[in-house]
């Protein structure tokens, strides 16, 4: 059965130990992380591939037959960002795999250029897309090697195999021991009671233009030198530190230092594996610090900011190990931190780093995750054609009318239609957003779907079960949270609350004991489990709500305005948790007022107004419904408004202009298909300071939402 469309999630990776040894046939210890590239694709009948990089807001179309020439469908050179997916398709064709045309849009939450293998994630993701569409089988090692070959031969980056292998083969909660000589691998559990924290220095490197290729040449030079002494040496892997030191004095100083790092690092990884196998996190952490010292002093790929991050981490009690990760020259550090100190560590590192550098580091915890995989595909439906399709949620003609009665002697009643005959379905593994103004019927809908309210009419089936007939069974498979601080016992601690609710879901005691610390870690509340909930901030309470909803490991989770009242950092952490849940195959229905949040998270969105669904589609398709015009936002002082209006009158039908008042300035919003022409017209006014500010932007989901709610589009 041919798969026609779907979504592939391809993770980034972080390397814990074994840096710059992958191209010297050493053993490495990476892990796939819970930051990923998400690729939505649809098969095409022709040989074209249309790519849309949503984060970059760039598109590119090329013909599979023209891949050798690295040109797009207009004959122009492929943009650099497209070389990675195109290279993979090219290499697959070279190796004889069937590659079909497709449309794909993708976005990523892996920081670019930070040493977390955003490029490898793209490559592996598109290899999996091609595999799914081509219907052929391939093992993950071969797939990784094809991606590596594509990056070297097509994108021109002399990379090792580790990145692609980790992105393709990640195992949840495990590091991957990967021998780059024999290609043997095995998963090793992350030490107990530890968490990985990534600190992005925000210093960016350029891999191709950096000294990376020089380091590789130095290693090759050293190998050639030692081959004259030890003919059996094929790579630096074959040299012990003692053998290396015995003859190193004849090497050029740079080559000696760089190669020494590799030889010692290979030996370090061997010790590290022993420590990991025996669960000795402290000794493993010490090796991470040693690696950083070596990368700084010998291999010379660190920078001031990375050194500061590692030094700060070294001084923090609870950080077991830290080092730069990735190629170096900027990017991130990876830190192994005790679970109970993670929050304090992150706060400490952020504050101290900013004090030292005036830079704001992006610091986040991460979990070893699964390698690239197909998340959902309509083909699964057609493959099981004889079986009725089972949606996670299937609501049909759903209505809810509330009746309120007043008066004692003369009873009067008033009916309010909260939800009016709405129908929609949510597939398993989908993140579905419900947007709408206050009172639109979002919460009523969620409460009906979560069994808390009985519908006035219509039907709801959850995983194929009828909500009226199988209420109790459905409750075992769903979890829900409602925005705000209510829903917890303030005088109990977080752990006591979770224990109580675990009993309501009849979790066995041993499961409860295991789940509670796990969930507190997932929601970032480790170390606060024994504090009373009444001492928690709104954000912490909201995260505890999420932990409560996840206690019984539900397949379907309803999140009703989960980030309401939470500060931006807390909201971002909660969104990261939501992404993790989707990565673990959960289905989520989310309601929110924050359009950026919906745009970032949701696979599909329904806009609800006065109890009716007025629009339902993917965020990208919804945006297309309000044209691809650009919006130019202009700010002018009131006195200058007539002059600007006069100029704008010359635009005629080229633009739609609307005015607003914003404190002391007048706001002008110009929607136009030709922003260049408008800017050219307005630029004299800008130089004469008649215009205070001018900003060009694309249509956002918020524009779409407002247009639908105001009734501008149907």
């Amino acid at each position: 059965m041919e798969i026609q469309d779907g979504c592939v999630i391809s993770p980034g990776r972080v390397n814990l130990l074994g840096e710059h040894v992958d191209y010297n046939e050493g053993v490495v210890l990476p892990a796939a992380i819970d930051r990923s590239v998400k690729i939505q694709f649809t098969r095409r009948k022709d040989r074209l591939v249309q790519l849309s990089a949503l984060d970059l807001d760039h598109q590119c179309t090329f013909n599979l037959l023209d891949l050798d020439r690295k040109i797009d469908s207009n004959g122009n050179p492929l943009p650099s960002w497209a070389l990675y997916p195109a290279g993979v398709l090219w290499m697959l064709q070279q190796r004889g795999y069937a590659v079909s045309g497709f449309n794909a849009s993708y976005r990523s939450d892996i920081p670019i250029g930070a040493g977390l293998s955003s490029s490898a994630a793209v490559e592996v993701g598109f290899a999996v897309v091609s595999q799914v569409l081509g219907g052929w089988q391939i093992d993950r090692l071969t797939l990784a090697r094809i991606c590596q070959a594509a990056e070297i031969n097509y994108a021109g980056v002399n990379c090792g195999l580790m990145d692609q292998f980790a992105c393709a083969s990640g195992v949840p909660d495990h590091l991957l021991m990967f021998d780059t000589r024999t290609y043997e691998s095995r998963a090793i559990p992350l030490p107990q009671n530890t968490t990985l924290v990534i600190a992005d220095s925000t210093i960016r490197r350029s891999l191709i233009n950096s000294a990376y290729n020089d380091r590789r040449k130095d290693c090759d030079t050293a190998v050639k030198y030692y081959q004259a002494i030890y003919p059996e040496v094929k790579s630096l892997r074959d040299l012990s530190p003692a053998q290396f030191q015995a003859h190193a004095h004849h090497l050029p100083d740079d080559v000696r230092r760089h190669a020494l790092h590799v030889v010692e690092e290979i030996a370090r990884v061997e010790r590290a594996i022993q420590y990991l196998d025996s669960g000795d996190a402290e000794q493993f952490g010490k090796l991470m610090f040693e690696t950083h010292d070596s990368l700084r002093d010998l291999f010379e790929v660190s920078c001031r900011e990375l050194d500061i991050l590692v030094d700060l981490a070294h001084g923090f009690d609870g950080c077991l190990g830290a080092r730069l990760t990735g190629a170096g020259f900027g990017g991130c550090t990876i830190n192994l931190v005790r679970k109970d100190r993670v929050n304090e560590f992150i706060e400490f590192l952020k504050t101290a780093y900013q004090k030292e550098t005036d830079l704001q580091a992006n610091i986040f915890r991460t979990h070893p995750s699964r390698g690239a995989s197909l998340k959902s595909s309509s083909a699964y439906r057609s493959a099981a054609a004889s079986i009725p399709k089972v949606y996670a949620i299937d609501a049909h003609e759903l209505s809810k009318t509330f009746v309120s009665r007043h008066g004692f002697w003369r009873r009067t009643s008033k009916s309010t239609v909260a939800v009016d005959k709405i129908s929609f379905s949510v597939e398993k593994g989908e993140l579905f957003g419900l947007l709408g103004p206050n009172g639109a019927g979002k919460t009523t809908t969620v409460k009906m779907l979560s069994t808390l309210l009985l519908p006035t009419s219509g039907t709801i089936s959850i995983f194929g079960r009828d909500i009226l007939r199988d209420t109790n069974e459905i409750r075992r498979h769903i979890g829900f949270t409602f925005g705000g601080a209510r829903g917890l016992y303030g005088r109990l601690t977080a752990v006591e609350n979770l224990r109580y609710f675990a009993e309501l879901y009849a979790l066995p005691p041993e499961v409860t004991r295991r789940r509670i610390p796990e969930l507190l870690e997932i929601v970032g509340l480790e170390g606060r489990g024994n504090d009373r909930v009444e001492t928690f901030s709104s954000g912490m309470q909201q995260r505890l709500h999420l932990a409560r909803a996840l206690l019984h490991d539900p397949e379907l989770i309803f999140l009703d305005e989960p980030t309401v009242g939470i500060d931006p950092v807390g909201a971002r952490e909660l969104r990261a948790t939501v992404k993790q849940l989707i990565g673990h195959g959960k289905t989520i229905l989310l309601t929110t007022h924050y359009m950026a949040e919906a745009d970032e998270l949701c696979d599909r969105i329904a806009i609800i107004k006065q109890g009716h669904i007025i629009a339902m589609d993917t965020p990208a398709s919804l945006k297309k419904k309000i044209s691809s015009d650009s919006i130019i936002e202009v700010k002018v002082e009131a006195a200058n408004l007539p002059a600007v209006q006069n100029t704008l009158s010359r635009l005629g039908s080229l633009a739609a202009v609307s005015y607003s008042e914003n404190n002391f300035l007048k706001g002008i919003s110009i929607t136009t298909p030709q922003p260049g022409a408008v800017i050219e017209l307005l630029s004299p006014l800008l130089t004469q300071n008649v215009i205070q500010n001018l900003e060009v932007r694309n249509q956002t989901l918020e524009d779409v939402y407002i247009s639908f709610i105001k009734g501008d589009i149907e």
Binding site: F402, T444, K447, S450, T451, L452, L453, L454, N472, R475, R476, F480, F482, G484, R486, G487, L488, Y489, G490, R491, L492, E496, R499, Y500, F501, E503, L504, Y505, A506, L507, P508, P509, R548, H552
Partner: protein, 263 residues
């Protein structure tokens, strides 16, 4: 995920004790209030020069008054508080039935209410030298259990009423004193008018109270006591069955009205 009743039972009792019982308000209800009731009754009784049997009404009445008030307030407060804290929705939305949660909580409240009776007896015995030497302890304990069962059934019924509607609060608060008066907590039922005695007979506590008072004063294990225990248990069971019959209806109604989280 099959429900373990003992796990649920112990966790509910634990939370109930931490959340509701071990606070100043509950302690006042269960401990101070019966002491005040008993003390005032004893002072008045002594001042009037009444013989010991009259003190039985004061002692037991004070204790039972504390138990009853505690039950009425906690059973209603529990649900009201869950409604206010937003936890009622979570309980209703879980696979465990609300009825089971209510039953365990009410048991906890009734058991905690025994503090009232103990406190009242302590005041009577230690301060006012109330004699217990003649008491039929076996009959007294059985009577107490019969009373506790009656209180538990009424508590479950009241909790159900509270879930149904926010307005039930006023009804429940309204019945506290009338029930105490009609069931003859602090005086003999026989002094009430005949029609009021008829009404009082529908309260299971009334029958258990009568046998408890008799047992405190001397041997009570006779046919009359057995009949009264049977009547009390029978009425309690009827109230419980009524509660069960209304159960589904009530729980459906709250899912229709959407008042689970309304304050």
């Amino acid at each position: 995920m099959k429900s373990s009743f003992m796990g649920l039972f112990t966790r509910q009792i634990d939370v109930q004790l931490r959340m509701r019982t071990l606070n100043l308000y509950s302690l006042l209800l269960w401990f101070i209030q019966p002491i005040v009731f008993s003390a005032v009754g004893m002072i008045l009784s002594n001042a009037a020069g009444n013989p010991a049997p009259d003190l039985v009404y004061t002692v037991i009445g004070g204790g039972i008054m504390g138990m009853w008030s505690g039950l009425v307030f906690t059973s209603t407060y529990d649900i009201r508080s869950d409604r206010r804290e937003g936890t009622l929705e979570i309980i209703v939305g879980s696979p465990t039935s609300l009825r089971k949660v209510e039953a365990i909580r009410t048991f906890s409240n009734v058991a905690a209410g025994s503090i009232s009776l103990i406190a009242a007896f302590l005041v009577a015995v230690l301060i006012y030298k109330f004699p217990l030497s003649q008491a039929d302890l076996l009959s007294a304990v059985i009577s107490l259990l019969v009373i506790l069962f009656g209180l538990w059934c009424m508590g479950v019924f009241l909790a159900n009423l509270m879930v149904w509607s926010r307005l039930s609060t006023s009804i429940v608060e309204f019945i506290e004193m009338p029930v105490a008066l009609l069931a003859g907590f602090m005086y003999p039922i026989r002094i009430l008018p005949a029609w009021m005695q008829e009404i009082s007979s529908i309260f299971p506590i009334r029958w258990g109270l009568e046998t408890l008072r008799t047992a405190i004063q001397g041997p009570a294990l006779n046919q009359e006591t057995l009949v009264k225990w049977a009547i009390s248990i029978g009425i309690s069971l009827i109230i419980y069955l009524l509660s069960r019959l209304l159960d589904h209806k009530v729980h459906d109604l709250i899912r229709v009205s959407g008042e689970l989280s309304s304050i």
